[in-house]
Symmetry: C2
Subunit: 225 residues, 2 copies
């Protein structure tokens, strides 16, 4: 049971978020990696009003930040790598294996997520704006092109580098999940299956359940669950 | 002189790009890091028509890819880290210093670049599209907010973590340079100075000159330089 109030590792997370964001907030990535690595952690919960000095910890005012008493960092890519250094399950030790995993972590965050997130925000957050309606077809096309590139590379392999799961797969699954609700994966069934394989891992299930349990516990009165 | 046709390290780059992209293509990041580390490299040049199997090397059809006979990878973030492992100039050896540098590399690519690039593309590539004109004010505001976050964190320090340059600074400088031409740094003079400090480094100058020299050499006939 990795959540332990006395753990050395502390991460930040939100106390509650609206339903559309539940299961997608980025602390999920770190919880999942810690579960895979079997490392205990505690959670410091934040509301919409952050503590006055939170920007010193996370200058973009987001979650999670990470602190184990040795390293205090933000950015889920960096945090996953740091956890990976402690767990060969997540990050191979040979240079090619290690840097392929790191490569996919960056690819998920820089070559895929911006296109997927832009498309998702147009469908949701910006849906009522004129520019979003006009932009929607080309944003959709661009996101699908990026996904096709990943799909072609994945082929019929289990994970991005064959049969060995790594932080690169973990990160890519969480990025692809953003697009899953908007039907973005409909053209690439192998990516949809890849996401399902990620979500089926016991470590993912525990991480997701712990994130959602926090939101249930802090559900504001008068807001539908 | 790090460019050496017999070097073990090979990167890919474009033979030529239009003027607006010159000095911004991503092989510049890797050339700069290799110059800082004093590592020789050779360049394999690609045209608009890539070799049939290039997607196996770089599934998003971009440059650069990197191969030193030990590791074959893409994504500039991963490549910079790999080079950093060979050069303490670029990547501190203590865990906090190392992971702060890695954190800023991810921050540049995931928390800053998507907003800056979206704004830049609206000003240039998409300038004649109706959605881009409507989106411009909010895209501008969003990009400036991200830059303000970095600016506040940098304060009057020389580099992002104080007085020690790292791959995090290198990456952030190259991302901020994207916005520099569009006036995005006008509100944050400390970031403009940070970019100037990066560009003043001899290693940056050599890397830029080598990229531009390639474009001059392969300038198509009938296209203004």
């Amino acid at each position: 049971m990795p959540i332990d109030p006395n753990a050395d590792i502390e991460i930040t997370a939100f106390r509650w978020v609206p339903e559309f964001a539940q299961g997608l907030v980025r602390d999920l990535r770190v919880r999942w990696a810690l579960e895979e690595a079997g490392l205990d952690y505690r959670v410091r919960l934040l509301g919409q009003e952050r503590p006055a000095d939170y920007l010193k910890e996370q200058p973009f005012d987001q979650v999670p930040s990470f602190n184990d008493g040795i390293v205090q960092i933000f950015e889920t890519g960096a945090i996953l790598q740091y956890i990976g250094e402690k767990s060969e399950t997540l990050l191979p030790r040979d240079p090619q294996g290690k840097y392929r995993a790191i490569q996919w972590t960056y690819a998920a965050l820089n070559s895929v997520e911006p296109a997927v997130q832009h498309r998702v925000l147009i469908e949701t957050f910006y849906a009522d704006q004129d520019w979003a309606q006009l932009r929607k077809p080309s944003a959709d096309q661009f996101a699908r092109l990026k996904l096709k590139r990943v799909s072609d590379r994945l082929g019929d392999h289990e994970w991005l580098e064959g049969n060995r799961f790594s932080i690169g797969d973990l990160m890519m699954v969480t990025v692809l999940r953003l697009g899953n609700r908007g039907g973005l994966l409909d053209d690439t069934p192998n990516l949809a299956d890849f996401v399902k394989r990620g979500e089926a891992r016991p470590a993912f299930q525990r991480a997701l359940e712990d994130q959602l349990a926090t939101y249930r516990e802090h559900q504001p009165e008068g807001v539908a669950a």
